[in-house]
Symmetry: C2
Subunit: 258 residues, 2 copies
């Protein structure tokens, strides 16, 4: 198989290309059907899933590495990608060891292997918010499958990846308080009820429709379009789009704090 050759090359010579002991893990959040999803990869030979991650090239910025991983796993680029925490416990690799046998990385013919990829890694966590429909999940060489999972109904995860995900969710909820969210999660034109459902999904709680509208409009990052959206036997809501200049300004400066 071609993949196996790539893996072998990575295991034997990867340490020349990449910085050892450092990895980047991306919590890629997609929004669909009022549900918040995380993109996960299934490992080749064991029943565990993991966050899309990667290594940092010897002369590459960590931010760039995170963007590269995102691009390689989703085909999406130029996205809001936020570093949120660095996980540096030496035991993190053993945390969720419910595996009955070791992944290919760590063994060969039943014998435990020692290569640079099986050693301790300090992982820098990033989260991204992507439009679900624009993403075509692609597994990496170590994985057989890549797909979305409901963030509240996750499969068995490797290492401390469950902890990384909750950390990321916490960071996203915090962001919601003082920075805009939605540009990369909604289509170009959207209604206020649609935006509200996104917020409710991220926060896992209901918001008051009227207060939400007032608040969002007062932020000044939305532009009401002359069109409305037909949604059935009810009043048609206005369509809105983000004022990208003001959106990015709010993203940079925040609006929760004086």
């Amino acid at each position: 198989m071609k993949d196996n050759k790539v893996i072998h090359e990575l295991i034997t010579n990867g340490h020349l290309k990449y910085i050892p002991h450092i990895s980047v893990d991306c919590v890629i959040l997609g929004y669909h059907a009022n549900q918040l999803n995380v993109l996960l990869n299934k490992w080749k030979d064991v029943e565990v899933w993991s966050l899309p991650g990667g290594y940092v090239e010897r002369n590459e910025s960590v931010d760039t590495a995170a963007h590269r991983v995102l691009w390689e796993r989703t085909g999406v680029d130029k996205l809001f990608l936020q570093q949120f925490y660095t996980f540096g416990d030496p035991d993190r690799i053993n945390m969720n060891r419910r595996l009955n046998r070791l992944p290919v990385l760590f063994q060969e013919g039943g014998k435990e292997l020692h290569n640079w990829m099986a050693e301790r890694f300090i992982s820098i966590g990033y989260y991204a918010l992507v439009e679900y429909s624009k993403v075509s999940p692609r597994p990496d060489h170590l994985s057989v499958e890549s797909r979305w999972w409901d963030i509240h109904d996750l499969p068995a995860l490797i290492f401390d990846h469950d902890r990384i995900i909750s950390h990321a969710l916490h960071a996203v909820r915090l962001q919601l308080k003082y920075q805009p969210v939605g540009l990369s999660l909604l289509p170009e034109k959207f209604t206020l009820p649609e935006l509200q459902k996104l917020y409710e999904t991220i926060l896992s709680r209901k918001l008051d429709r009227r207060n939400f509208q007032k608040k969002m409009l007062s932020l000044g990052i939305l532009r009401r379009l002359p069109e409305r959206k037909t949604i059935g036997p009810h009043r048609s809501p206005f369509l809105y789009s983000f004022d990208k200049r003001k959106y990015n300004q709010a993203l940079k400066e925040g609006y929760g704090f004086a």
Copy 2:
């Protein structure tokens, strides 16, 4: 010299003990005379200063490494130490290159050296708040001097350490909004005006005395003592101490967000 022997050992064999390419930098903030200070080390042979930092042992948690650095440089332990960002630009090492000659790490007899310590480092930033008087700054083996600097009047700093410091200051100010600050910066007993001056110093702006008192007391982390402090020809303010249980609870849970 003994130091030179230690340095030589570190340069030649350090990579066996420590994880390469990873460092920890601590922004240690001390408060004194209504001034916020940062602890800096002066490098041995060049006119630059740097943050106290260190490396992560092969089987050591990153958090532990940060605590160890703090302990080694200040003699203080069991402190509130907060990871705030990881700096991973490959060029960060060259950012403030106003050096006319390279530090000893990077050269020997005029020739540029290539050892593990002179390579690229990804640095995990921590900040700590310490009581100024309890600290006895101790230079590490690479430094000749260790002392406090006014955070608003810093000397020439190596690498991107100026950027790390502003990041840290930003993080501390954010913490002030939703977590208590002061337990490690003030003596056991203190007055409300003293606490207020600490807040004003961190935020670099004046606060209203009356509103500040109301706010602080409403948080429920202070205990008024029966004593007062004599401060001169004026009314004597009450002394307070932190209710450590409630303080730590507020530190954990925060109070700015519901």
